[in-house]
């Protein structure tokens, strides 16, 4: 095992224990709500109890009369002060953008929509006063379901989005699909609901703003996965604060899973209120507020048609999806059911003709945006669930059907029918490895024997691909992104040779303080304790895009790697000068520069660092100092892939599912820290399996959230899950110098389909071909007993 005190040891690929753990296991983590500023006040929000209503009047007089209340502010106050609506970050042609104000003006469009804010001396006074704010509403009919919202005569969510259509988006060759379908041997059709989920990072969202009038500078602490993006959008678009007068700090962040990417109303309100009142203002969500206001995920209703020839080869795929985007468009929302979804529809398969048609709808529900995997789990579920339905209809083993359709290893780079070009891949070895590790024939034999004895085992496969490492800026720009998706990395060598790294990536559990330090230590031959990783502070770090879309290693790590090469190169020239050798004759290894062929002529990295800062004896024309900045803009996405297999047992008496085994074989390219990658997979698998079995947000027809707390939303607990088994194949990515891909979302992308397929496989003797998720005991029991004619 590599330790922190072995300079020069091969650190990339070693399961180094995490540097950041010391503070977390001793209670010294510093999350946003842990920060307290002198004179701090507290915000509490007045929220709409209605899903669709007109605001007639807001009477704050009783609240204002309470001792300790500093102010009650409304949307009208914000509008009068020139605060703008929060814009979405991706656009499509014809998109209808409903005004998303931090505090509603005139109308509310979902339960929990913020209407006013109370600023008070303590959290309890603020909460009590918020309850005294009297809002008079006229309630209107609401619509929560996207398919219902698109039907004629549905209640209108926004007057300027007729028929509740946000946009219609299509990808692929419709005519080619029609022709291939017409000539196909068989067409498999399946309707699939990918239910709405709620991220539920265990740390609730929080923000604390402090306006310093003397410096005319605003500082915002916020639970953010991307503090520079927060600063850019809040500063330039919403609040009108110039970036050099606005500092955003995302300190320790307790999990994100996408839900902390977006610019939320609450942080805009506390930032503006702090400036307006001249005092620090803090807000921390209650879990109930998290359920109502954190952006939700998924929520698709999809029809899949997959056409085959008589050899079981897919000849065409047609996918028609209705995506529920909720009441407003948050940052990534337009991209999730489109570019992050439709482009993945080829999966690992050679499908010559694909057409994807997505209609996004406004509904009177919480906004829907990226949640772990963001579009790619939905695509994988649509494709992989349909593959299992097809295998049953065609009378083929699901593993065999997949194998027949895999893209051949010599076909890369492979141009899919849905825009993406896969740069690399080798899919069959992962399938073979997964089948061998689980001993697939033995499991099928066990299943058959069990069925005879009355036990119902199910085996489910999921072969996935994801495009991550977001993203090549020129591509996303041409697709409607209002930003580039490069990353920054600064390597600052101090005169003693110690290293400070400034990265635009953000860790909210990913362990960058360790993995990035591993890259530095490996490249410079120092120990990881010689390296400090700084992230999450726009006051210290150059502009960066943050962490989501499994991009930190592949984009942020690559930026860091680029800067390391630059400082090594300058160091080499300094060393050559000091050693009176030509730079090309100087090598660097184990933390020392030395003249090739005469290893005794050497300068340590620390000596060279000091020389760079003393500047007494540098090559002519060389500037003093040793520091480099790199903005890495990837040339393509990276494409992790793998095969996951779930084994479940269904108790047909109760409908209860036990997840017995779960095996993941993944290809993440080179892996910097296997321990951390496995940990990410475990968490991802748990979230994906939870979608298959337990989680699902439910609204009633009036737009009231029925699953608004941890009591009635099925988050997985330790007892629900087995030990996951993980293994890998290694196909390095060619698009970044580290050869890494992304690992943060793969578990979630693959596991939902694997677990759902396993349950439906177990239920096949009952003639049940498909059930929508979550596959709860009630749903399974009803289906079994329905299939038996009621008993």
């Amino acid at each position: 095992m590599a330790t922190t005190s072995e300079p020069g040891a091969s650190l990339i690929g070693a399961s180094v224990k995490r540097k950041e753990d010391q503070r977390f296991i001793t209670g010294k983590g510093r999350y946003t709500d842990d920060v307290t500023l002198p004179g701090q006040t507290y915000a509490a929000f007045v929220r709409s109890p209605h899903a669709n209503a007109t605001i007639n009047r807001i009477d704050a007089s009783a609240a204002l009369a309470m001792p300790g209340v500093h102010a009650v502010l409304t949307g009208a106050d914000m509008q009068a002060a020139g605060v703008n609506p929060i814009p979405p970050g991706w656009l499509h042609p014809g998109i209808k953008i409903a005004e998303f104000r931090a505090l509603a003006v005139g109308r509310v469009s979902h339960v929990g929509n913020a209407v006013a804010v109370v600023i008070a001396a303590s959290p309890s006074i603020a909460r009590d006063a918020a309850d005294l704010v009297d809002v008079d509403y006229t309630d209107h009919p609401a619509v929560a379901d996207a398919v219902a919202a698109l039907a004629a005569g549905a209640p209108q969510v926004h007057p300027d989005a007729p028929g509740n259509v946000v946009f219609n988006w299509q990808l692929g060759d419709a005519a080619a699909v029609d022709a291939a379908m017409a000539g196909a041997k068989s067409v498999v059709r399946q309707h699939l609901v990918n239910q709405r989920l709620i991220a539920n990072a265990i740390e609730p969202r929080a923000s604390l703003a402090n306006y310093d009038a003397a410096a005319d500078e605003l500082t915002l602490y916020v639970t953010s996965q991307n503090p520079h993006v927060h600063r850019l959008i809040m500063g330039a678009f919403v609040l009108g604060i110039p970036e050099h007068k606005f500092r955003v700090i995302a300190p320790d962040v307790g999990g994100g899973f996408g839900s902390k990417i977006f610019i939320y109303p609450e942080e805009c309100v506390v930032a503006w209120a702090s400036k307006t009142l001249g005092r620090p203002v803090k807000w921390t969500a209650t879990r109930s507020e998290s359920f109502l206001t954190d952006a939700h995920g998924r929520d698709h209703s999809t029809d899949v048609e997959m056409a085959f020839d008589d050899a079981g080869t897919i000849v065409a795929l047609r996918v028609k999806t209705v995506a529920n985007l909720g009441a407003y468009l948050t940052l990534f929302a337009p991209a999730v059911p489109t570019y992050l979804y439709g482009t993945l529809m080829s999966g690992q398969y050679n499908i010559p003709a694909i057409h994807v048609d997505v209609t996004a709808a406004y509904t009177n529900t919480t906004p829907v945006d990226a949640y772990r995997g963001a579009g790619r789990p939905e695509a994988t579920y649509a494709l992989e669930r349909t593959m299992d339905v097809a295998a049953r209809q065609l009378g083929l083993d699901p593993a065999e059907l997949r194998r027949r359709n895999l893209i051949a290893p010599d076909a890369f780079p492979f141009q899919t029918a849905v825009a993406l070009q896969y740069d690399s891949g080798n899919y069959e070895p992962a399938l073979d490895k997964a089948l061998a590790l689980i001993d697939y024939p033995a499991r099928r034999a066990e299943q058959a024997a069990g069925r005879a004895a009355g036990t119902h085992i199910g085996i489910g496969l999921s072969a996935y691909i994801e495009a991550c490492g977001l993203a090549p800026s020129h591509i996303v720009g041409s697709l409607g992104a209002q930003a580039g998706l490069y990353e920054s990395g600064v390597v600052r060598i101090h005169p003693t040779g110690k290293v400070t790294v400034l990265t635009g990536s953000h860790s909210h559990g990913q362990g960058h303080e360790t993995t990035f330090a591993q890259i530095v230590a490996q490249e410079l031959g120092c120990t990881i304790d010689d390296v400090e990783i700084v992230h999450g502070d726009t006051g210290r770090v150059p502009f960066g895009m943050g962490t989501y879309g499994s991009r930190s290693g592949a984009v942020g790590g690559a930026a860091l790697f680029g800067s390391l090469q630059k400082v090594k190169d300058k160091g080499r020239r300094i060393a050559a000068h000091l050693l009176e050798a030509a730079p090309e004759d100087v090598d660097f290894a184990g933390g020392n520069f030395f003249v090739k062929g005469s290893p005794s002529r050497t300068k340590s990295f620390a000596e060279v660092s000091l020389a760079a800062y003393l500047a007494h004896n540098l090559p002519p024309d060389m500037e003093p100092g040793l520091e480099a900045t790199t903005f890495f803009n990837p040339s393509n996405f990276v494409f992790p892939f793998g095969v996951h297999i779930a084994i479940v047992e269904v108790d047909t008496e109760t409908g209860h599912v036990t997840l017995q085994r779960y095996l993941a074989v993944d290809d993440f390219g080179n892996v910097i820290n296997p321990m951390i990658v496995d940990g990410q997979l475990h968490g991802g698998i748990a979230q994906g399996a939870a979608q298959a079995l337990w989680e699902g947000a439910q609204y009633d027809s009036n737009g009231q959230l029925l699953t608004g707390s941890m009591m009635n939303y099925g988050l997985p607990k330790a007892a629900f899950l087995p030990m996951f088994e993980t293994d890998r194949t290694v196909t390095p990515s060619p698009v970044n110098p580290l050869g890494v891909k992304g690992a943060g979302e793969a578990g979630t992308i693959a596991s939902t389909a694997a677990v759902a397929n396993a349950v439906l496989d177990a239920l096949s003797p009952f003639g049940i071909t498909h059930l929508d998720m979550p596959l709860t005991p009630a749903r399974i029991w009803s289906a079994i007993h329905g299939s038996h004619g009621g008993n």
């Binding site: 950041e20 503070r23 296991i25 983590g29 940990g679 330790a718």
Partner: protein
């Protein structure tokens, strides 16, 4: 306001509190011990778990006045003289944490679990941590951490503080 006397991590505190103040808010706001976290408002997540008179309690469900006269251990007080409790060390060793937000409550629940059952099975650990939610780890390495610590503690490798 009501006066309470509590010992927290071995130090006595006498404070006036509002009767409705929850223990977790008392610890975080009055004493500045922000290692104890709040993750929910329905007593589900366990992020707020502390030891009260040696037993794990969810400090969001205990009023500060109910803790009057009690001895409380929070995550900040679990190490003794700079030596980590075996569970703290085990969480680091087995990568039992990612974002770290559930971790203080998870560790203190595990202290309680091992005090009641020093060599639990995997199943007993999973059921014993029923009151603690983690969204990052899928629980796998948390279970391993508890197994690892149980092993260390059975070997008497290091002093056990906090109970």
């Amino acid at each position: 306001m009501t006066e309470i006397n509590v010992s927290v991590n071995g130090r006595g505190h006498t404070r006036d509190v509002e009767p409705r103040t929850l223990l977790v808010h008392f610890l975080r706001e009055a004493l500045g011990l922000t290692g104890t976290h709040v993750g929910c408002d329905t007593s589900q997540c366990g992020a707020c778990t502390v030891l009260l008179d040696g037993r794990g309690v969810k400090s969001c469900t205990v009023l500060a006045v109910q803790a009057n006269g009690g001895e409380i251990t929070t995550i900040e007080g679990l190490a003794t003289d700079g030596v980590l409790h075996p569970l703290q060390a085990a969480f680091r060793e087995t990568h039992g944490l990612q974002c770290g937000f559930c971790t203080p409550g998870m560790i203190l629940s595990a202290v309680d679990l091992l005090a009641r059952n020093p060599s639990p099975s995997e199943r007993e650990i999973r059921h014993g941590l029923e009151g603690n939610l983690c969204r990052c780890t899928g629980y796998q390495n948390i279970v391993k951490a508890v197994q690892h610590a149980a092993h260390t503690m059975a070997g008497g490798a290091s002093a056990v503080a906090g109970d």
